[in-house]
C-alpha cells in the first residue's frame, strides 16, 4: 500500500509540472462528458420522458455511472488498453517484470491520472442536479447501500479494464473493440436498461451482469417498479456482481501473465 501511494505520488507531482497541459486536458474531459449529457438534456425538452423515466431520473443513473467510471479511470488507468498496449510494445512492461515488486501493483500505479478528475466532477454535478430535482426518501438502508453500489461499479469497470489489458498479451496491438466494454459499457449503463432491445439487454444481464450495477440499484433508490419481474433481491446484487467480475478479471490477468511472451523490443 505504501509503495502504491509512492508510485501515485510521483505521477501527481510530474503531472503538476506541466500545469497548462494539465488544465487543458482536464477541461477537454470535462467538456466531453458535459456536452454529451447537455445534448441529451437539451433534446429532452421536446419529449416528456424516456420510457417512463424523467430527465432527473436519467440524471441520477447518468451521474452515478459517470462518477464511478471517472473514479475507475483514475485508479485503473494503468490498465487502459491503448496505454497498456504502448507499454507492451515499447518493452516498458519487461522492465517492470525485472523489478522485485509485484507486477500487478506496478501496472496499477503506472498511470494515476489526475486529469480524469474532470470526468468524475461532471458526474458529481449531474448527480447533484438529479438529487435536487427528485424527492428521494433517504432511509438508513439506502444511505448505507449507496457507497456499496459505487464500490461495485468501480470494481466492475476496473475488471473490464483489466480484461482489456490482458487481451493485449496476445494481440499486442490494442484493439478498438475493447472500447465497447469500457466506454461503450459506461455509455450504455448511463441510460435505463428498459430502453434496449431484449437481446442487447440479455447480453448485459446474463453475460455481462451490468444491469445489476446501474438499473436495479437505481430502481431501488428511486422507488420505481421492476418491469422485468426479477426476484426482490435483484437491486442488492451490485457489490456481489462487481466483485465477481473483478475476481474473474484478476484470474484472467494471472493466466495472461503466465502466457506472456515479450515482443523483444
Amino acid at each position: 500500500m505504501g509503495l502504491y501511494l509512492k508510485l501515485v505520488g510521483v505521477q501527481i507531482r510530474s503531472q503538476m509540472r506541466y500545469r497548462s497541459q494539465f488544465v487543458l486536458d482536464t477541461l477537454a474531459l470535462l467538456l466531453v462528458t458535459g456536452l454529451e449529457y447537455a445534448s441529451l438534456a437539451l433534446v429532452f425538452e421536446r419529449f416528456k420522458s424516456i420510457q417512463g423515466w424523467s430527465l432527473a431520473e436519467v440524471a441520477f443513473l447518468y451521474g452515478l455511472v459517470e462518477m464511478a467510471f471517472g473514479l475507475t479511470d483514475m485508479i485503473f488507468g494503468g490498465f487502459d488498453a491503448p496505454r497498456f498496449g504502448r507499454f507492451i510494445r515499447q518493452g516498458s512492461f519487461d522492465q517492470m517484470m525485472l523489478r522485485p515488486i509485484g507486477i500487478t501493483l506496478q501496472v496499477l500505479g503506472s498511470d494515476f491520472n489526475l486529469k480524469r478528475f474532470g470526468k468524475m466532477a461532471v458526474g458529481v454535478v449531474i448527480f447533484s442536479y438529479a438529487l435536487s430535482h427528485l424527492s428521494i426518501t433517504w432511509t438508513v438502508a439506502k444511505l448505507l447501500y449507496f457507497p456499496l453500489v459505487v464500490l461495485g461499479l468501480v470494481l466492475f469497470f476496473g475488471g473490464l479494464f483489466i480484461i482489456g489489458a490482458t487481451i493485449i498479451f496476445w494481440t499486442v496491438e490494442s484493439t478498438e473493440v475493447m472500447n465497447i466494454f469500457t466506454y461503450g459499457g459506461s455509455f450504455m449503463m448511463s441510460y435505463p436498461m428498459n430502453i434496449y432491445e431484449t437481446w442487447l439487454r440479455n447480453l448485459f444481464t446474463f453475460v455481462v451482469p451490468a444491469i445489476f450495477l446501474n438499473y436495479y440499484p437505481a430502481l431501488f433508490f428511486l422507488g420505481k417498479p421492476d418491469p422485468f419481474n426479477f426476484p426482490a433481491f435483484a437491486p442488492f446484487l451490485a457489490p456481489l456482481a462487481g466483485l465477481a467480475v473483478f475476481l474473474i478479471s484478476l484470474g484472467f490477468w494471472r493466466f495472461g501473465l503466465k502466457h506472456y511472451q515479450s515482443t523483444g523490443s
Partner: protein, 263 residues
C-alpha cells in the same frame, strides 16, 4: 496534379491494409450506433414525428452519424501536429507541393477508403437490422455526393487549422481535443440539431460545424430539399473558402516562427 492523385492513391492503399483495425472500428461504431438509436427511439416513444424526424429517419440518422466518424476523423486528427513536434515537417515542407495540398491529397485517399470500409459498410449492416430512409430520387443522391465531398473538404481544412496550433505550443494536442469534441456537439453529431431548442440551432448554424455533418444527414433524409438545398451547398463552399484563407494566413505566420533542430 498527377502528384496529388499519386499521393492520394498511396494513402488509399495504405488505409486498405489495416484490416483488423478496420473490423474493430466497424464493430465499435455499430455498437455505439445501436445504443444511440435505442435512446432516440425510446425518447420518441409513441410520437411518430418530431420536428421533421420520423422514427425511421432518426434510426437512419444514428447510422449515418456513426458512418461519418472515420470518413471525417471526428475524434481527432493530429498527424500534422506530430510532424511539427518530431521535426518531420521539414521534409514535408520540401515536397514539390504546398504543405496544405500535401495533407489534402494524403487525407483524400484515406477518406475515400474509410467512406467505403467504415461508412457504406455500416449503412449496409444497418439496412439488415432496421427499416431505413433513403434519398428520394436521383437528384438527391447526386446532391448527397456533392455535399459529402464538400463536408470532407471542409473538415480537412478545419482539422488542418486546428493542427497549426502545434507551431505555437507543445501542448497543442489537448487544445485540439477540446476543439474536436466541441465541434461534435455543434455539428449535429451527438444529437440531430433539429431536436435542439430553436435558439441553439440558430447558434450552431453560425459555426462551420453543421456543414460537416447535419447538412449531409438532412440531405440524405430528404429534410433539406429544393432551393434550400442549393443554398446550403453554397454555404458549405463559403465556409471552405473562408477557413482556407484563415488557415493559409496562420500557416504563413507559423512557418516564419518555425525553428527545426538539426540532427
Amino acid at each position: 496534379m498527377r502528384l496529388f492523385f499519386e499521393l492520394a492513391a498511396r494513402s488509399f492503399r495504405r488505409t486498405l491494409t489495416y484490416r483488423i483495425a478496420t473490423l474493430a472500428g466497424l464493430i465499435t461504431n455499430i455498437f455505439f450506433g445501436l445504443i444511440r438509436s435505442s435512446v432516440l427511439v425510446a425518447l420518441f416513444g409513441q410520437q411518430s414525428e418530431v420536428s421533421g424526424y420520423t422514427v425511421t429517419s432518426i434510426i437512419t440518422y444514428t447510422g449515418l452519424s456513426q458512418a461519418l466518424i472515420a470518413y471525417l476523423m471526428l475524434f481527432g486528427w493530429y498527424d500534422l501536429m506530430d510532424g511539427v513536434h518530431t521535426g518531420e515537417i521539414s521534409t514535408q515542407l520540401l515536397k514539390p507541393l504546398s504543405l496544405f495540398r500535401y495533407w489534402l491529397a494524403h487525407d483524400l485517399g484515406r477518406a475515400i477508403a474509410h467512406l467505403f470500409l467504415r461508412g457504406v459498410s455500416i449503412m449496409l449492416i444497418y439496412e439488415l437490422m432496421f427499416d431505413l430512409t433513403y434519398p428520394k430520387d436521383l437528384g438527391h443522391w447526386l446532391a448527397l455526393l456533392v455535399s459529402l465531398f464538400f463536408a470532407w473538404w471542409l473538415s480537412m481544412v478545419w482539422r488542418f487549422l486546428v493542427n497549426l496550433a502545434a507551431f505555437w505550443s507543445p501542448n497543442a494536442q489537448g487544445f485540439g481535443r477540446l476543439l474536436f469534441f466541441a465541434a461534435n456537439f455543434f455539428s449535429g453529431f451527438m444529437m440531430p440539431l433539429g431536436l435542439f431548442p430553436d435558439w441553439l440551432q440558430t447558434l450552431c448554424y453560425l459555426t462551420p460545424f453543421p456543414y460537416m455533418i447535419n447538412v449531409v444527414i438532412e440531405i440524405y433524409l430528404n429534410i433539406i430539399t429544393g432551393s434550400e438545398l442549393f443554398f446550403l451547398l453554397g454555404l458549405q463552399l463559403v465556409w471552405i473558402l473562408g477557413l482556407s484563407l484563415i488557415s493559409q494566413f496562420i500557416l504563413t505566420m507559423g512557418i516564419r516562427k518555425l525553428a527545426i533542430a538539426g540532427g
